[in-house]
């Protein structure tokens, strides 16, 4: 039997809200702190410094090959903690749902969220649900906050970057952005899947190997290029990238040819960029390649003296060109 879709009453704070929490959220996300249903979750103290991050997820479409908004919300939050050198401790999640959303959709996303959280050994300890009238939202938005415990050896930040450092990436770039661009432009991405996934093991592997990354970041919106641009700006240096060293899947390259996009500015959701002192680059790559999520890790370039642009790209033909970060999301072009 078709179940009633999400109604405004499910966000009203009354009995319908409690029913939705009991029927959808508690069974999937089951943990004692959430089940207490207090106004706030009370957590045990953690040793050392805390890291805190917040993120809003408005991905459209919400379902895509390789993930959905639920998985993305958990991995996105945990990954922001991870590249700050923090192991996740707890997550909060607020749902803004559009009136008329099918129950099945919500349950699928929450189940996927629960699965992702288990994979990252973290719990969703508190949450909130609001419903907006039909037409005032795009099915579902998720807003999260993540708390993490900063680990020993956490990377300092872009100001520590030095000329001569090597730039590594943990796997092919642009998979997530390409999948989403395909779906938005009525293309079938075939077997291409979003790279949506956790990166904590990649960070942990570096720290466990005794490596001291100068800077770690998970390239999401804006892709690898935006991260390179930001670290160049923050360090006052430039990054030289060899185009033929960029790991780009053939499907992503094909989609970029079709839509006139540049893969380095397409979003990733499960990759890490690491800037390493050059003498540690090889060791860091070995540590990554031992992991399933790091098998295609590779060196893409190095930090150089400040050039007239944050990124200098070396073409496969030996030409060199300057590259800036675009102000807004690149749009498909026909010219």
């Amino acid at each position: 039997m078709e179940r009633e879709p999400i109604a405004l009453g499910h966000g009203g704070g009354g009995r319908m809200t409690s029913d939705l929490i009991r029927e959808v959220f508690l069974p999937a996300l089951a943990n004692p702190r959430l089940e207490a249903l207090g106004d706030a979750a009370r957590l045990d103290p953690v040793p050392g410094r805390l890291a805190m991050t917040t993120d809003a997820f408005v991905v459209s479409p919400q379902d895509f090959p390789g993930g959905d908004i639920g998985a993305l919300a958990i991995f996105g939050t945990v990954n922001d903690l991870a590249v700050s050198g923090a192991r996740p401790v707890a997550i909060s999640a607020a749902f803004i749902l559009e009136e008329g959303l099918a129950r099945d959709d919500l349950e699928r996303w929450v189940a996927s969220m629960a699965l992702a959280a288990r994979r990252c050994s973290v719990e969703v300890v508190t949450g909130d649900t609001k419903v907006v009238p039909r037409g005032q939202g795009d099915r579902a938005y998720v807003v999260t906050t993540g708390l993490g415990a900063v680990q020993a050896g956490a990377p300092p930040g872009p100001e520590a970057i030095r000329e001569g450092d090597e730039v590594l990436v943990s796997g092919p770039v642009g998979d997530h952005g390409a999948v989403i661009a395909a779906l938005r432009n009525a293309l079938d991405p075939g077997t291409l899947r979003s790279d949506c996934g956790p990166v904590w093991d990649l960070v942990e592997a570096l720290l466990a190997a005794g490596a001291t990354p100068r800077f770690l970041r998970d390239p999401t919106r804006g892709g690898l290029g935006t991260v390179l641009g930001e670290m160049a700006e923050a360090s006052g240096l430039s990054v030289e990238v060899r185009d033929d060293a960029l790991p780009v899947r053939p499907e992503v390259a094909g989609l970029c040819d079709l839509l006139g996009l540049d893969p380095i500015f397409l979003a990733c959701e499960g990759r890490v960029v690491a800037v390493m002192p050059s003498e540690q680059a090889e060791e860091a790559l070995r540590a990554w390649r031992r992991l399933p999520s790091g098998q295609e890790a590779t060196r893409i370039g190095r930090v150089v003296q400040r050039a007239p642009a944050p990124i200098v790209r070396v073409t496969p033909y030996g030409g060199r060109r300057l590259c800036d970060v675009p102000a807004a999301e690149p749009l498909p072009r026909i010219c």
Partner: protein, 79 residues
């Protein structure tokens, strides 16, 4: 103005076809290439096939470039 890419026609249904390149596929309009058959390569611009690609010529032009770049003599040499 001419972002157009080669795509292989997978199937067709009247003026509408489904074409693929590098594992990415999409619907393409075939109004401007009425004779094309599945398996042939199209040049697709903004969702329309604007020509059927001549694979023979494609190979030949590659070979021509190859020959020339391996043997500078074929371009006439210098005086």
């Amino acid at each position: 103005m001419c972002l157009a890419v080669p795509m292989r026609l997978v199937r067709r249904d009247g003026p509408v076809g489904w074409a693929e390149v590098q594992g990415i596929s999409r619907e393409v309009r075939l109004d401007l290439v009425p004779e094309v058959r599945p398996g042939e390569w199209l040049i697709v611009h903004a969702g329309y096939a604007i020509e059927v690609l001549d694979e023979e010529e494609a190979r030949e032009s590659l070979e021509m470039a190859l020959r020339a770049s391996e043997d500078p003599g074929t371009v006439g040499g210098g005086p």
